[in-house]
């Protein structure tokens, strides 16, 4: 379905390129929900933007991208024009800022339908209403007339979802789709996303810093740290037995009933060095070798990959 090879996203500043995403390779297949976790700044959003072809104008993007077997050239911005909205859809974090405040929400959806399907506006509006009903934006006819500021956060995110999936894309990217929402609404949105993937057999790239969301929804998980995929594993295995110290750190930072101490993720360990493991500065198991040699993403077992010189064994996990 989607295959990303050696993706690099960087920014040039004063002649020096800082890489936000370093040499990442992964793939998603139809009907699969791939979660990407990582703290902010780990490069997960930039990865999503690169796939959508929406990287900032000053970014440098390299690598190969295969979508449904077709190669897409990063040098050609136009390549995405026919994919976005039709084959690829995206849901963003904050529905308040991602809906145009000047248009009734129904129109936002109808506009996309109208544009991509080349159908008359009236018909597009009817289709949008149907979609609203199926996504629980009720009563659809009234809601469609309303403006973003008149809707609750959950409804707005449903509208954003409707706009993203109205043309039934085979790849849906959801970048922190529930972060700005109440916990009760979160589940509803995640259910809708899952339902869409199951019904349309499309792929979903779910990006979140929230391990709970990932655990609940994803089939497979990528863990990203400082632009590098440090671990890749099916969701159950990952949570049961993380292989990378960073994954472990993320999990330990989750509040749990059986522990009364919350671990902070110390972000500012040593300054990022250009050589060695990206996590070395903060790794409690760090050895001298880790500071000198950059590890590669290697396959440990089937479906499991880790990017660490000394992956965790069961005994070492705390």
């Amino acid at each position: 379905m989607l295959e990303v090879k050696n993706l690099q996203v960087g920014f040039e500043e004063a002649g020096k390129i800082t890489w936000a995403v370093k040499n990442s390779s992964f793939s998603v297949s139809a009907g699969e929900i791939l979660g990407i976790v990582g703290e902010s700044g780990s490069g997960k959003s930039m990865t999503a933007m690169a796939i959508m072809g929406l990287w900032p104008a000053d970014a440098i993007v390299r690598g190969q991208l295969y979508f449904q077997g077709r190669k897409i050239d990063f040098a050609q911005h136009k390549a995405w024009q026919e994919l976005r909205g039709v084959m690829m859809g995206m849901v963003f974090q904050d529905p308040t800022s991602t809906l145009n405040p000047l248009y009734p929400v129904g129109q936002t959806v109808a506009e996309a339908l109208c544009y991509h399907k080349k159908i008359p506006l009236e018909e597009a509006k009817r289709k949008a209403l149907k979609l609203f009903t199926s996504l629980g934006i009720l009563p659809a006819a009234t809601r469609a007339q309303q403006y973003p500021h008149q809707l609750s956060g959950g409804l707005k995110q449903r509208v954003a979802l409707a706009a993203a999936i109205c043309c039934k894309p085979s790849l849906l990217i959801a970048d922190e789709p529930t972060t700005a929402l109440d916990v009760t609404v979160q589940a509803q949105i995640l259910n809708l996303l899952t339902a869409y993937v199951r019904e349309e057999n499309s792929a979903l790239l779910l990006i979140s810093h929230d391990l709970g969301v990932i655990a609940q929804t994803a089939d497979r998980v990528l863990v990203m740290c400082r632009g590098v995929i440090v671990e890749e594993a099916p969701v159950i295995k990952l949570f049961k037995h993380p292989l990378h110290p960073y994954t472990q750190l993320l999990m330990n930072s989750l509040p749990r009933l059986d522990r009364n101490v919350l671990h902070n993720i110390e972000k500012n360990g040593t300054a990022a060095s250009s050589v060695g493991c990206v996590f070395a500065g903060r790794c409690q198991y760090c050895r001298e070798f880790c500071l000198l040699e950059e590890p590669a993403l290697k396959t440990i077992t089937e479906n499991r990959k880790v990017c660490c010189h000394f992956p965790l064994t069961k005994g070492r996990s705390s």
């Binding site: 959508m52 929406l54 104008a57 995405w80 024009q81 026919e82 994919l83 976005r84 909205g85 039709v86 690829m88 859809g89 995206m90 963003f92 904050d94 800022s97 991602t98 809906l99 145009n100 405040p101 000047l102 248009y103 009734p104 506009e111 996309a112 544009y115 991509h116 403006y147 500021h149 954003a160 706009a163 993203a164 043309c167």
Partner: protein, 313 residues
Amino acid sequence: MKSALVRRFLQTVIVLFGVSVVTFLVMHAAPGHPLQANPELRLDPTAIERWLQLRQLDQPLIFQYLAWLSRVFRGDFGESLLYNRPVLELMGERLPSTLLLTLSAFALAMFLAVAVGIKIATQQNSWLDRLVCTISLAGISVPNFWLGMVLVLLFAYRFPILPAVGMRTPGDGSILDILQHMLLPLLVMVAGNFARYVRYVRSAVLDVMQQDYVKAARARGLGENEILYRHVLPNAAMPIITVAALSLPMLFTGAMVAEYVFAWPGLGRFIITSTMARDYPVIMTVNLYTASLVAIANFIADVLYLLIDPRLR
């Protein structure tokens, strides 16, 4: 909505009343009157006293003000003390030439600024963007007055292809003639206004282009034109409307530089000389007029905001 309009109207009336009182007091606090003995003209002091009497300018201020107010309510704005003709008539005669120049300059500058501003905002940091930004900075820094004089020297003196002053060749006044006369003042005014407006437009468009809903629209696969015209511009319109509304009163009160440098006839010079000469009825009317224009401009801007932005409804 309706009640907001009524409230706005009442506010305006109160503001206008306040403006009239303040203007009246300030005006009379300033020394002198239009016939103040000018030592070079040998005016007859007795005649001046009679002149003041006949115009009730020797009466107590409160009486003068009330008399003025009651006349205004009857729609009589009085006679100019200098011209001895109705103020409205004098202003009415001068307004068309002012509007011809200011409205054309405004429309042209706005049109160019919007077109160019959008263009360069979508190509941020391109050579065109840098060029326009440099030119507009120059346009803002160079005084209109100076630019006007340079243009006159260049096109009316060194290469005498255009008329230097006035609105028409005396005795001609055909459309072509007026257009020729308009060219230089228009150029100066458009240059100055364009330089200001284009920066507003550019930053307004850039600001909106960085909004999430534009990114989202792009993620929905809409074409650049759809994004620009349906998502960016309506949102960028608000700050542009504000700037336009702020300029409106100036359009109706004259173009001082053009009227001085190019001797373009119009309201601006009339207003200045009347103020200098303490022509009370003219000053009062002009102030009410300007205050009304500001109120009207704000009102129009408000209505436009309401039309564009559902959040304000």
